[in-house]
């Protein structure tokens, strides 16, 4: 018992250190701060949103609260043409954006890292086979593929995530593979092999910790991709009809003539939120590159 208790924080600390979060880069810090704000918003959505995002609202004089401008009747960001509160939709949209972004990014980074590790470490026909699969994944037009799959299967968040994971692992896998190719020739890997370590142990103990930052880097790029993709899919009308997402809001605004009505308060905020979350990923990535490839000095 004692042993486990004393090892646990150690393990967490080691994991955090092996991710090498870029905390001294101002841009990366800004990106992480954006993530923190959005994560907190998503968790506390119930308390922050004044209304149910799908509820049709009425003014105190019993009129439909449709197309109200920001500030009118106490609606912070105004209401949609169907009388729904835009601010509440933004707040709840954070949930589906982060949910889809993080699960898709996790799957992409996981599949990509495993494929890259196996491909790079074992080489030979395994490598050839996996890299041809990556070539094929590069040949699939990403957005059309997700649209077709999401439309054929039941439109749901998970089908969009699966469709994304099926294609996007390719970039991560290639990069991790080339990293593993150099890692496996290092002296400590040879030493471990001579000492009788199994392949599995060498991969898990000696190679994986060194590629974790790269996986995390590609994961944070994938979060942005996933959120942008989900927004596009929802905008085209193939999204999950059950969930309120920023892409759905934009589709709703576009279809309800918000552009002609000059209702900027309706379609600008969801776009800004998407930009903030996606660019946060880019900023973190930049911080990472400075740590991982200091010679680049970019």
């Amino acid at each position: 018992m004692l042993d486990v208790a004393s090892r646990k924080p150690n393990l967490v600390a080691r994991l955090l250190r092996s991710l090498r979060l870029p905390l001294n880069d101002p841009f990366a810090l800004f990106g992480l701060a954006i993530y923190v704000v959005f994560v907190l918003t998503a968790i506390c959505a119930n308390y922050l949103a004044p209304y149910d995002p799908t509820e049709i609202l009425y003014t105190p004089s019993y009129d439909l609260a449709a197309d109200l401008r920001p500030g009118q009747e106490g609606f912070v960001l105004g209401t949609t043409s169907l009388g729904r509160d835009i601010f509440s939709q933004i707040v709840y949209g954070t949930r589906s954006a982060l949910l889809i972004g993080i699960t898709a990014a996790f799957m992409v980074a996981l599949i990509g890292s495993i494929v890259g590790l196996i491909s790079g470490y074992f080489g030979g026909w395994v490598d050839a086979l996996l890299m041809r699969l990556a070539d094929i994944a590069f040949g699939i037009p990403f957005l059309p593929f997700v649209i077709v799959l999401a439309a054929f299967l039941k439109p749901s968040v998970w089908n969009v995530v699966i469709a994304m994971a099926l294609v996007l692992w390719r970039d991560t896998a290639r990069v991790i593979r080339s990293q593993v190719l150099t890692l496996r020739t290092r002296g400590y890997v040879d030493a471990a092999r001579v000492a009788g370590s199994s392949d599995l142990k060498i991969i898990l103990r000696h190679i994986t910790p060194n590629i974790l930052p790269l996986s995390f880097l590609y994961g944070s790029i994938a979060i942005g991709w996933a959120i942008l993709t989900e927004a596009s899919i929802s905008f085209l009308g193939f999204g999950d009809p059950e969930s309120i997402s920023w892409g759905y809001m934009l589709q709703d605004a576009f279809a309800s003539q918000a552009l002609a009505k000059q209702a900027y308060y309706w379609f600008v905020p969801p776009g800004i939120c998407i930009i903030l979350v996606v660019s946060a990923g880019f900023f973190i990535t930049r911080g990472y590159e400075n740590i991982l490839f200091p010679k680049l000095g970019r």
Partner: protein
């Protein structure tokens, strides 16, 4: 002849990827939930039409036989009948391809011209305030949803200022003798501006950042130092010596960008009602017009794969130091 051999290798790989994507497409549409015949036969077709299609695609035969027939038909450019338009899919998508290509190439040419110049300039002004503001700004444009940017431009320049039309390629009622007459008309340009600008603003980030980082690398090389020592003006050093060499990888990225752009077109064409392949794909999916979905998907995939091959070959051709190991 290591170059020829490498090129042949690439071509073989190209064929393999193409075959794999074609097969995935086949499986996706045959194994989808519901009636397997739905991939080609609409219930509203006449009995004769249905039987003709049954025979043409061998829909009553086992799956592997259907697959062989499918490949044979593809080689002859036979993609079936569109449910909605009642015309061959191949004809339909071929007439839409020029619209998509014009949009893609005009936006990419603007994006690359701007991105290359701005990227070289930012590398030259490294560490300046301009650079410190510009780089995060460019990253921000890369994180915009393209369709959202299109919506904002539409709301401002079309609905508010009224400078540009809201969508399509021509105003209602006008007709042109030929496609060429349409594309060279001033009116077409007015319709093209906003969608092309939307895609260009999104795409300029890639060439810009690539050019900038390549320039930073090249500027450290000996021949640039040598040019400086010779006393050449900074302009000559940057443009004649450094930029030329930094340009190579950016040019190869153009081919890749064409492929990416075709995918992005799917949404932007929908926002601007631009009659191209992407919008057709979306409409066909919504209308369950399966033959048309397959055709449009296949054509987009073919361009993407072809562009990947072009990028690969260009890379080796422009920079012989890259070996095709």
């Amino acid at each position: 002849m290591p170059h020829l051999k490498a090129a042949a290798n690439r071509a073989l790989q190209f064929a393999l990827v193409l075959w794999a994507v074609v097969t995935i497409l086949f499986l996706m549409f045959r194994l989808m939930p519901g009636n397997p015949m739905a991939a080609y036969i609409d219930p509203t077709f006449t009995v004769e039409q249905q039987q003709a299609l049954m025979a043409q695609f061998g829909l009553d035969k086992p799956l592997w036989e259907q697959y062989i027939i499918y490949l044979g038909n593809l080689l002859q450019g036979e993609l079936g009948q569109s449910f909605r338009y009642r015309e061959p899919v191949a004809e339909r998508i071929i007439t839409l391809l020029p619209n998509t290509l014009i949009l893609t190439f005009s936006s990419l040419i603007i994006a690359y011209a701007f991105g290359i110049l701005a990227g070289a300039y930012l590398a030259w002004r490294r560490g300046s305030t301009v650079e410190n503001i510009a780089v995060p700004l460019v990253l921000t444009t890369r994180s915009m949803p393209e369709f959202w940017l299109g919506m904002v431009l539409l709301a401002v320049f079309s609905f508010w200022l009224g400078w540009f039309p809201a969508g399509g390629t021509r105003s209602a009622g006008t007709s042109y003798d030929s496609l060429w007459a349409l594309y060279t008309s001033g009116e077409f340009l007015r319709y093209l501006t906003l969608p092309a600008l939307t895609l260009a603003i999104y795409s300029q980030g890639l060439p810009l950042l690539l050019m900038r980082s390549n320039m930073l690398d090249v500027m450290k090389e000996d021949f640039v130092t040598m040019a400086r020592i010779k006393g050449l003006s900074p302009w000559t050093v940057v443009v004649r010596h450094a930029a030329r060499n930094a340009l190579l990888p950016v040019m190869t990225s153009f081919a890749i960008a064409v492929g990416y752009q075709l995918q992005g077109n799917v949404v932007v064409e929908s926002v601007f009602s631009w009659p191209g392949l992407g919008r057709e794909l979306v409409n066909a999916v919504s209308a369950s017009d399966y033959p048309l979905v397959q055709g449009a998907f296949l054509l987009i995939a073919m361009v993407v794969i072809l562009m990947n091959l072009v990028a690969d070959l260009l890379y080796g051709f422009l920079d012989p130091r890259v070996s095709h190991a």
